[in-house]
Structure formats: structure tokens, C-alpha cells
Subunit: 395 residues, 2 copies
């Protein structure tokens, strides 16, 4: 007398959560300073000062009824206008408030987009390994089939040989997550152009559009000279899903949006479908106070120095020890090759013998790699290095 | 190349929104003081002072990374414990944190509950007219059939003759919304006991539980000596959905919960299914700052004096003019009989001739009645009385 599928989903702990939970328990036993937890992607730098100043100001000075009242379903028009203005300044995006739909975080943004596009269970949405494990639930919610394209383990750009074989007449969308969770890799302009050509040719062949769903919460988390290309400039039929979880360090506040760019085919129809799908998941009128905060802080930039220091320290230390990984240019993740190719065994051993918590890549579609989240303290990284050394020495 | 069902949902303006939007436009033309808008259920009393004080204090003094970081999917344990303690104090509910699942408002709470209970499209969820029109979308999302039981227009308690005919072996749940939107009626203990007996007998006959889904955002909005019975004391298989939208005047902040009481059959299984269904709608880790606010303010009581004054003024004035309605003991709605029984025509005429915005009951399952939301200023009510008078005189 209850839904079996959801029982399964509700009782399966994600591998990320499993390691995280172990760490919390272990810390009670051996002390938090002796547990090296690289499992979770919770930002470790505080929100920009303006965020908390704005919250205080609004709570103190703004009319409470207006501040905490319902916005319209898509979010306050003033908030959507501020988002559009910011996109236009940065990318000359041609964005307008009526093509932005604010959501309770990026997770429902992706769910809503999948549901808006999918019409039947024959439809297929392609995800590119390595990918965020929850994608199976997120895009599965649309009723479409989720198809996985294996990773190109040379550089974690796109495996075009596999992608060409996987796209078919049932393909309605390809999910692009760059900067990527878990690899930290940023897709190059060359990669995206090659994908755009392939999708255009296939869309023409099949007689229907194939959309890119761009999952971009890490867009602003990019280091050095690397640039994240603006995908609609390369491929018109792109729908962008975003949140401020990472860029403003507000993951708990659940505010994101979907943007249907003007160049997107059937854009008005898709936007209407988003509105409808949002009703079915109940992600309407997202958190009102935080909308007002983002309206004011949309131009704030994250302070990336701490992440970048962590990235350099960890990358240099681990590669010097002999670990192999693709160059992590963005987000706050590294995806490291397990010394003997079995990341599940490596992760278990690291946890049990070294109190070192990393997440095996199995759920990400790459069982030979493990993920490190380096949104942690530099101190912890330094303390953890002997554990990494002991691990690789044991192989 | 997009989902037709969602296109329909996304392009259909709710009747409530239609009248509300007309009012906004009309106000530009004739002045806001000459539009009498009773269409929307947005609380008009501010949040208790402690709410905004707590927000300021947290933004100023609390660690930003912790404040705005992800909570676990079900919400902070400390928040859920505070909710459980409050339920236990007030209702001796036997509540524990591990049976409370916090959601992004009551809307996803209801969607998640429907999905958790429904297994096939033969399953049926019963809603009792008059009902919140969005129930069709909310419970339809589960894939189950939504069955409507016609209203008992004598007093807007439950129409047991119709309910008895509608419950069948496919019935998995009955939705109870008391204090009721749109009637403002509170179901009596007698009504609920009668329903409990009926459901128990049928559950036994069919060999499976029939759940009550108690949609209770208006629980604290009740006037005079009237009490809202605590349903799990009357019927064990009750699942409670709640939000602070109305009681703390925080509708825009999107925080609610689902509570599976200890006496509920298969409660652990249902709770696990809720967890799973929440993943499929992406309503996980609800707004973190507001969780902390509720943790502190869960015992705050709404200042009902303003609503009560409005209620008395409107009820006395309208009944004196000859309008008929059931006694509105709770929420901030009245459900008034259209003078000639055609509320759609009445509402159109009131809008066009008097700038008086009321919502016809068609979508609520009662086409002979219109809804008034009296969460407005007392001044507006006084100014609107001649318009109500002119309307009834014209029949």
C-alpha cells in the first residue's frame, strides 16, 4: 500500500551520503581533526558580505507582508529582470524576464526541464559520463529513458565515438554539465562546437530539435585563464539551468532558474511547458526573501582564492605522489584514477584504514575513478596528505 | 517536441490569478482605492516580530557557511526536533524528528504524499468539494485518479451520502482540508468521527488501509471558541501536511513539512516512500535560513485580531444585505451563495460593473458559490460594501 519505486529511492543512501555519514560517526570516535572528509560538495567559503547585509537590511526595513508574500509562480518580475540584465551584460544573451523561470534550486530546474521536453517513454535524454549520480532520478522523473555515454578517460572531454552511437531518433536532449561535477573539467569551445555540429546534423536528419540542457551551477567557479563558453552562442537550442548554490555559497537557500534563450527553437512553447511542469512538481514561487537578495547580489563574484589554493595544493601533491587525473579547471572537484582501477575498493580501504573519505566513481559512471571535493579547509588537506601517500604506497 | 499536458497546464491561468491580474490592470485606470480585490489568499498581517528579528540575528551573528549550507534532505534535525516538540506540547502527538520531512512549502508536501501512496493509475484519491483547485494538479501528479465528492451545501461539512458512494476498493486516500479553503468551515469532531468510522469499515472490507491526507496550513487560523480537532486522535492512518505560509505569514518563504504520526499503519514504509518521492520532485533540503527561523519561532502564534474583525464585518454586512453563506470559523475565506446560483456570471458582472473581485466556485467544485479572501484591509472592506449592495440589488 505504498509506492515501491519511491520506497527504493527513499531507502537507498547515495554513495556520497554514505561516506559523509561514516565521517561524522568516525569523528566522534577519533576526533574531527583525524578524519579527512572530501565527500561533500557543500561550499566552504562564506557568501559575499553583501548577501548577509542585504538579508539584514530587508528583514529590518522592508515591509514584512511584501517581503515574505508569494511572488508569482516564475519569481518576482524585478528579480527576473535583474537576472536577465546580468546575463545580457556578461554574455549579450538577449535575455528577458519572461524567458526566465525561477525555481527552488537547480535540482527542480533540471527536473522541470526534462518533464517539459519529454512526451513519451520512448524519448531519450543523454547524460555524459562522468555525471552527477542524481541525474538518473532527475531526468528519469520525466518518464523518458536516461542514456549514458561513457567517458573519454583521456581528458574527460566528450567521447564523441560513443555519443554518435547513442544519439538516435528518440533523442530529445543531451545534458551538458561544465564545469563538470565530478571531474572539474571545463568543456572547451572546440568540444562544444563539435557537439553542436553533431546535434545539428542529427536534428536535421530526424526532423526534430535536440536540445542541450546546460546544467551550470559551477559556471563562475573556474580558475586561471580558462573560460567557460556561453553555449547558446554555439548551439541555439540550449536551455540553461542555474543556481546560486555554489557561486554565492547559498546551497541551502534553494534558488535557481531556467532560462530559455531567444534563439531557442519553440522557445515560447517550451517556456509554457516549463510553467506547467513546475506546477506538477510544486516548484513555484521560490523563496521570496532570497529572490530579493539575489536581485541585489546577482553581480557579486565568488572569492575563488581559497578554492584555487586548495586545488593547486591537492593537484600538485597528489600528482607528485603518482596519482593521475585530468586537469581540474573548474568547480571544486577532482576525479582521480584509482591506483589499481578499482575505485570502490580504494574508497572503502581509504575510509577504513586512513579515515580518508572520497567517493568512488561508480555512481558517476566511471568506476575506475574517485571524486575529491576540495571545498574544505587547506589545513585538512595538509593533514590528509600522509593518508593519500599511505594509500598509493599500499598498491 | 514538447510535452502537451504541461503546455496546457502552463498556459491555463487559474481563475484566482485571472481576477487578481484584472484587478492590477484596473487599478492603474481607476485608482487602487476603487478596486475591491478579494481574490487572493496572501496573508495581510505581518509575520510575528520575532521572525524578522531572528532573520536579522542569524544573518548578523551566525556562521554564513553553516547558515546557508545544505541541510540533510528532510531538513535540519534540530528544526525537525523543534517541530516535533511543538506538536507534542499541543497535541501529545508522539512526534519524533525521524517522522517529519520538511518540504519547500505545503504544495510539494501534498504532491510528495500523493506520489508516496499511489502505486497505479487505478488508485483513487478523493477530494471533498469545495476544494483548492490546484488539488487536481497536485494529486494528479501521483498518476492516481482524483475523485470529487460533491459538497454538502447545507453547512459545508462532509456529504456522507456522496462519500459513501465514491469510496471503493481503489481508494487509497481522502484529502481533508480543515479549516477549509474556500469555505472557511472547520470540520467538527462529529464529522471527523463519522468519516473515521466509514474509512475504517471500508479499509477492513477491502483489506488495505485508506489514508487521510490532512492539508492543514490554516490549522491556527480559527476564531472564537471553535477548536480544530487533531485528526490522528480520531483516525490513526492520517498523514499531516503543513506549512507556515499562513500561521507565520511566510507564504513566499516556502517551508512546510509532512508528518507521519506514530499510530499510522506502515508509517516507516510511508516515510521512506516520502523520502523517495521528494527526490523525484526535487523538494529536498528546504530553505535553510527559514528552517532556522522556524526552529526559533515554531511556538509563535498569529495575531488573528485583524482577520477576525474583517470576518465579523464582512459576515455581518453581507448577511444583513441578504447574502447566504456557511459560518466561516477558520482560515480567511468565506464562500458565498451567488444570488441566482450562477457564480461565474456574478463574478464577471461584479468585476466589470463594480471593480469587485471575487472568485467563482467552479474550480472549487461548487459553481453556485463565490469565494472571498478577507486577508485584506478593513478599510477596503468598508469601501467595498456599496458594491456588494449594488450587486445583490441588481438581482
Amino acid at each position: 500500500m505504498a509506492n515501491k519505486k519511491f520506497y527504493g529511492l527513499g531507502t537507498t543512501l547515495s554513495p556520497i551520503r554514505k561516506f559523509f555519514a561514516y565521517g561524522l560517526e568516525k569523528a566522534k570516535e577519533v576526533g574531527a581533526e583525524n578524519v579527512y572528509d572530501f565527500s561533500i560538495g557543500n561550499p566552504s567559503i562564506p557568501a559575499p558580505a553583501l548577501v548577509n547585509e542585504t538579508i539584514e537590511d530587508l528583514a529590518h526595513n522592508y515591509d514584512s507582508v511584501k517581503l515574505h508574500g508569494y511572488s508569482v509562480a516564475a519569481g518576482h518580475e524585478s528579480t527576473r529582470r535583474a537576472i536577465a540584465d546580468n546575463l545580457n551584460e556578461r554574455f549579450n544573451a538577449g535575455a528577458t524576464a519572461d524567458r526566465i523561470f525561477c525555481t527552488c534550486g537547480c535540482n527542480p530546474a533540471l527536473i522541470i526541464t526534462g518533464k517539459a521536453l519529454a512526451e513519451s517513454e520512448e524519448d531519450e535524454i543523454i547524460v555524459l559520463a562522468p555525471f552527477f549520480p542524481e541525474y538518473r532520478v532527475i531526468f528519469g522523473a520525466s518518464g523518458a529513458q536516461v542514456r549514458v555515454v561513457a567517458a573519454d578517460e583521456r581528458d574527460f572531454q566528450i567521447n564523441f565515438g560513443e555519443l554518435e552511437k547513442t544519439i538516435c531518433k528518440n533523442t530529445i536532449a543531451v545534458v551538458v554539465n561544465s564545469p563538470n561535477n565530478p571531474s572539474g573539467v571545463v568543456y572547451t569551445e572546440e568540444t562544444l562546437k563539435k557537439m553542436a555540429e553533431l546535434l545539428k546534423a542529427r536534428a536535421e536528419e530526424y526532423g526534430h530539435p535536440i536540445y542541450i540542457i546546460a546544467d551550470e551551477p559551477y559556471r563562475e567557479l573556474v580558475y586561471g585563464e580558462v573560460k567557460v563558453p556561453y553555449i547558446p552562442d554555439i548551439y541555439a537550442n540550449t536551455i540553461i539551468c542555474y543556481s546560486w548554490s555554489k557561486s554565492l555559497s547559498l546551497p541551502g537557500e534553494r534558488l535557481g532558474y531556467i532560462f530559455v534563450p531567444p534563439q531557442c527553437e519553440d522557445g515560447d512553447v517550451i517556456y509554457a511547458c516549463l510553467r506547467g511542469a513546475a506546477r506538477e512538481v510544486g516548484s513555484v514561487c521560490p523563496p521570496a526573501l532570497i529572490q530579493k537578495v539575489v536581485e541585489k547580489c546577482v553581480g557579486c563574484e565568488p572569492d575563488l582564492a581559497a578554492y584555487d589554493e586548495n586545488r593547486q595544493l591537492l593537484y600538485d601533491s597528489l600528482t607528485e605522489m603518482g596519482y593521475e587525473m585530468a586537469k581540474p579547471d573548474g568547480a571544486f572537484y577532482m576525479f582521480v584514477k584509482a591506483p589499481n582501477g578499482d575505485a570502490a575498493a580504494f574508497s572503502e580501504k581509504a575510509m577504513k584504514e586512513q579515515n580518508l573519505l572520497v567517493v568512488p566513481g561508480t555512481g558517476f559512471g566511471c568506476p575506475g575513478y574517485f571524486r575529491l571535493s576540495y571545498c574544505v579547509s587547506g589545513d585538512m588537506i595538509r593533514r590528509s596528505l600522509p593518508a593519500f601517500r599511505a594509500m598509493i604506497d599500499s598498491y
